[in-house]
Symmetry: C2
Subunit: 203 residues, 2 copies
């Protein structure tokens, strides 16, 4: 495999741009951050559904497919949370390179870790979405009963209770789930992707 033909082939790798052309849209990491119960998971599922119906090639990273797989060796200490977010950032970067609109739904409580993800993925293709909701409302919703367990001391280092959540300093989008309906929230994200040219207006 050492002839001239190889070299030509090896030099013309399929690039991110090639993959985007095939998919007929740009790629990006849409990084949802917020407290447990803020609505990140519901929102990313609904945004992916809407994008898919528009013919957009997507992937969604969340606790279900990351915490039980790639990051099953990690806990919830600040160090492990940092490594958790670093790896998710690296995987999201690969997904963006693959040409996909990649949605991530993780609490990602530390600004430093989110900034690291932004650095890994690159400013131009990183969209930080703050899924805003008061701790009180999140705790009232408590869809998985986790706040109750955290208050009872059954879960340690739970964000908002005995671990901090640092609000995004300068996110690309803020979605206030105490004020917007799910449909409105979805449309806010879709509108941003259209306006910024990540997805075409006539798909």
């Amino acid at each position: 495999m050492g002839n001239a033909t190889n070299i030509v082939w090896h030099d013309s790798k399929v690039t991110k741009e090639d993959r985007q052309i095939l998919k007929k849209h740009k790629s990006a990491a849409v990084w949802f951050t917020g407290l447990s119960g803020s609505g990140k998971s519901t929102l990313t599922v609904a945004v992916e559904k809407e994008l898919h119906q528009l013919g957009v090639h997507t992937y969604r990273l969340d606790g279900d497919n990351i915490r039980f797989g790639l990051n099953k060796d990690l806990g919830f200490s600040p160090e492990d949370r940092a490594e958790n977010i670093r790896r998710i950032g690296e995987v999201a970067k690969l997904m963006v390179d693959a040409g996909l609109i990649t949605l991530t739904a993780f609490i990602s409580p530390y600004q430093k870790d989110r900034d690291k993800a932004r650095e890994i993925i690159g400013e131009a293709e990183f969209i930080e979405v703050y899924v805003k909701c008061s701790l009180e409302t999140c705790e009232n919703r408590d869809p998985k009963g986790l706040y109750k367990k955290a208050r009872a001391g059954e879960i340690k280092e739970f964000t908002g209770i005995d671990a901090p959540y640092e609000e995004p300093v300068n996110p690309e989008l803020i979605i206030d789930t105490e004020k917007l309906s799910l449909a409105e929230s979805v449309q806010t994200v879709i509108h941003y992707l259209l306006e910024k040219g990540f997805i075409p207006k006539t798909n």
Copy 2:
């Protein structure tokens, strides 16, 4: 975000099958294994090129985008090699879930680690390709000068020199790069994907 509409949306997540329908082909991890210099990288680049020209949605994982990113914290001890391959297996699984024909080009010298990747990804979507080439030929090719450095003791734990390579026990495909041209090697892989129905015969 607690009304009936949410629940419907949340229940109807975009699935792997939905993504495959959009892409008009199945997904799989095509796992190339072989010595340094056997031709894995050249072959996967060329296979991806061919698939892309057929309109197939692909992604390629290799040392360039993994060892300097996700796995930059790992070395070359047997433990680190196992963790390296585990993480690549987990990422490939996500890529397959995203609907992509995913090509991986790593020495992946231990059968146990490759079996672990197979287990993570799932038998039905894992295609182990042994890129076969004698150590002597690989060392003569030495495209990156690594064998020379390993022989001089400048690189430790180098597969084939002072670290073992375990030949695949029962790979789906064997590509002997001492006998086949690059074009023939590519066609062998494409033919397999067509015959097994991963990509459609008329795309």
